[in-house]
Subunit: 469 residues, 2 copies
């Protein structure tokens, strides 16, 4: 049903943007349109719901569903047709080792189907709820609230985050210990500054593990020795061997393998931390578990040795640039100072809007909605891999916004990603996220794409792969 | 008239917040209320206009003026009554040399009358226009706009800033050369990173000159040799003597003296820059000139040697954390990289809202409104200084959001500021902003306070000063 609804929502958006459905006009009754299109009424209802959430139409009770705003971006423009010949730029992106601007370049590269990992379904952003909360915030702020604020964040958001972490991640924390930051990227930069001042020069990382995280740590002048990840998660024995004083982990859903850190490994890790090891827990998509409740955060068990970073990038949208950082007491003041010198604190209005969405239950509603949708898309991707890429192995738990596939064959996965991009399909090669040699593989995001696009993308990947081998 | 309107707006806000004027109720007709209060009808109209802009009430044409939202902060809470005895915390704030958190501590200190410099009239924030623009932005964004964005800023805001700078500051710049940042504080941090990489280890600063700026440069591991400022602005001959490769200047309205850089000094400075000197132009309140059009930015004359930083902190509100940075071509890529590693770019929604306000003429409207109001408040402060502090010398051009006064007497201005804070009046001592010994003085913000509060504040300062000497 998701695919049909997506298709219908897209058609409606196009009709609104090119004037066939002008602002003020009424959409057909769901029953009528469903009959005309020979789809179930649920498909139409879901498409209308999407447009309502995007703020393009509004329900008026018995008055029907009315067009209230025009999308500026004409869908055609953001979905260029397949290039006749492979684009030379696409090849160049994957030809060299990835530099500091690699993710900007990948994002800017045109592609018809974007299966980059790391994005939630952005079309589901709760525009109407955001606007309602913004109106309420603007109506209740005092003049002084528009001045320079607390570099740690507004009290309202720090409280909302503390409550969110208690409800969703099993973490008990005093709101005064929450530092609001501009996403996990900024949290890593602040931690690197503070660690360096404390004499720490390296932060071990999972391997495979996020290229972006590694880039940020290295920019903060940290070495990043690689620790292998197996089916139970990070190899704590190997971590001990490196002698690194700190490690960055993604225990809830390892990036990119999707492994959940096993119970015995967690205990081993606790022992390592108890002997002086320091953990950065990047809890980037922990709330997105589809088959069972998420495992508790490491932070909930060992507050004194865990720096915990979370954000709304995977819950609402990366464009908001809001996240949070908890740290052991010894680093707290230094982190506030580092944040102050970085930007004097996050912008106030979005913090207050977000606090309202978190405290009103809107965020949990959004998360439940996303979980259902993401799960369907994950299932669609696994089906499509089985159909089109029977030689590929799918890794990871039923969680998150992406999955990893690997191949037994011997080829360069960057070539596969480059050839796929030339055919209009954007994916990331596993080798980007690996420090040591690895089997060829791909990291595939499914959360932001419709099942139809996912299926088509996998079919194109299969075709590209046949030509490559 | 401003003072009465302020008073009336405050009374109305209080009545709304404590339920005497519930949401949905109608305010009295302006003519009626003016008669009851024995004030001119303009006073009432202006007070209502304030509440409309704040979003607390809305005009309904013939339906009258209706209460639509409740202020959460009860004014009484943010205006504690005068403490019976001097508070010990207040004294401590000014007793030691100012540390990294000094501005946070000063902001957090309770005071009935806040004459800190650096804030525009925050009550004038155009809440209704902001909300309208936000609605329009949310209605027109594509889903992809909610993803990770360009670390340089959104194309729409970079274009709007380029147009703003052309209209208001005589600067012609390609939008692609505009870097959107989280305020001038962040601009300084990014510049320090890039300068250091280029072998630069010191940035000379004006003396007196902003303590906050000096703290940010020093945190970026720059030395900050002081260059004296006289009635024509910074002493370029002294700048040459230091041999510093770079200097930070506030040419349009020097902070804190208020001096405008003279013509001959500008030419001298151009020669120094032409011989290899590098300028950071902190154009922090250049748009607020009351007696004539502002002088053009140095950047407009010498793009190759000037890094230019501006922000909306003095135009709209510091809480927005949005600014812009222009730089010579040689530093451009490195600054983008530094911004990317700092936070992956500013949040997208507020950038787009701001772009709309700038392109629609709303920002210029706001600026014209603020100029009129600020000018009245400046005049009120000068009058009050003449009345209550006849021994003080007022410095600076008819511009900006603050003025500086100095005293011929010999006492520590930090003691004066401390004693004033203990009496409920917040000011900054000139010594905070001086590296070399200086006459005692105060830096006084007038833009965010009503003429009544300004007058009362000056009277208390005079009383405190009498006890001190």
């Amino acid at each position: 049903m998701g695919g049909l609804s997506d298709w219908l929502a897209r058609r409606l958006r196009l009709a609104i943007s090119d004037g066939r459905l002008p602002v003020g006009s009424r959409l057909p009754a769901t029953r009528v349109l469903a009959g005309e299109l020979r789809v179930s009424r649920g498909v139409v209802t879901e498409a209308y719901q999407r447009l309502i959430e995007e703020g393009h139409v509004a329900g008026r009770g018995r008055g029907g569903t009315i067009v209230v705003a025009t999308p500026v971006a004409v869908p055609a423009a953001s979905r260029p047709s397949l290039p006749a010949n492979p684009s030379p730029a696409a090849g160049a992106l994957f030809a060299a080792a990835p530099g500091a601007d690699v993710f900007d370049a990948l994002r800017a590269a045109p592609a018809r189907i974007d299966l980059s990992p790391g994005l939630p379904d952005l079309a589901a952003f709760p525009r109407a709820a955001w606007l309602r909360a913004e109106r309420s915030v603007l109506g209740s702020l005092s003049a002084a609230d528009f001045g320079y604020g607390d570099p740690r964040g507004t009290p309202a958001l720090r409280l909302a985050v503390a409550n969110w972490l208690a409800r969703n991640r099993g973490i008990r924390v005093d709101p005064n210990e929450v530092l609001i930051v501009a996403g996990t990227a900024q949290a890593l930069g602040l931690l690197a500054q503070v660690f360096r001042h404390d004499g720490i020069r390296e932060v071990a990382v999972e391997d495979p593990g996020s290229l972006g995280v590694r880039q940020h740590l290295r920019n903060g002048r940290m070495d990043t020795p690689p620790i292998p990840v197996d089916s139970e998660g990070v190899r704590v024995d190997e971590l001990r061997t490196t002698g690194a004083p700190a490690v960055l982990l993604t225990p809830a859903h390892q990036f990119p393998t999707g492994v959940v850190l096993g119970g015995e490994r967690r205990r081993e890790l606790m022992r390592w931390a108890g002997e002086g090891g320091l953990i950065i827990e990047d809890d980037y998509d922990a709330e997105h578990r589809y088959d069972r409740p998420p495992v508790p955060a490491l932070r909930s068990m060992l507050a004194e040795r865990v720096c915990y970073a979370g954000s709304v990038s995977k819950l609402l949208a990366p464009a908001l640039r809001v996240g949070w950082l908890l740290s052991p007491p010894k680093y707290r003041d230094a982190l506030v100072t580092a944040k102050r010198y970085t930007d004097l604190g996050n912008a106030v209005l979005p913090q207050l809007v977000l606090a309202q969405l978190m405290e009103s239950g809107e965020m949990e509603r959004q998360l439940r909605f996303l979980r259902r949708r993401h799960r369907r898309r994950r299932d669609a991707m696994i089906d499509a891999v089985r159909t089109h890429l029977p030689g590929a192995v799918v890794h990871g738990a039923a969680a998150g916004l992406h999955l990893m596939i690997t191949f037994e064959a011997g080829f360069a996965d960057a070539d596969l990603a480059g050839a796929a991009l030339a055919r209009g399909v954007k994916v990331q090669p596993l080798s980007w996220h690996s420090q040591r040699p690895n089997r060829p593989g791909l990291v595939l995001g499914y959360a932001a794409s419709t099942p139809t696009d996912i299926g088509e993308g996998m079919a194109i990947l299969a075709e590209v792969l046949r030509r490559l081998s």
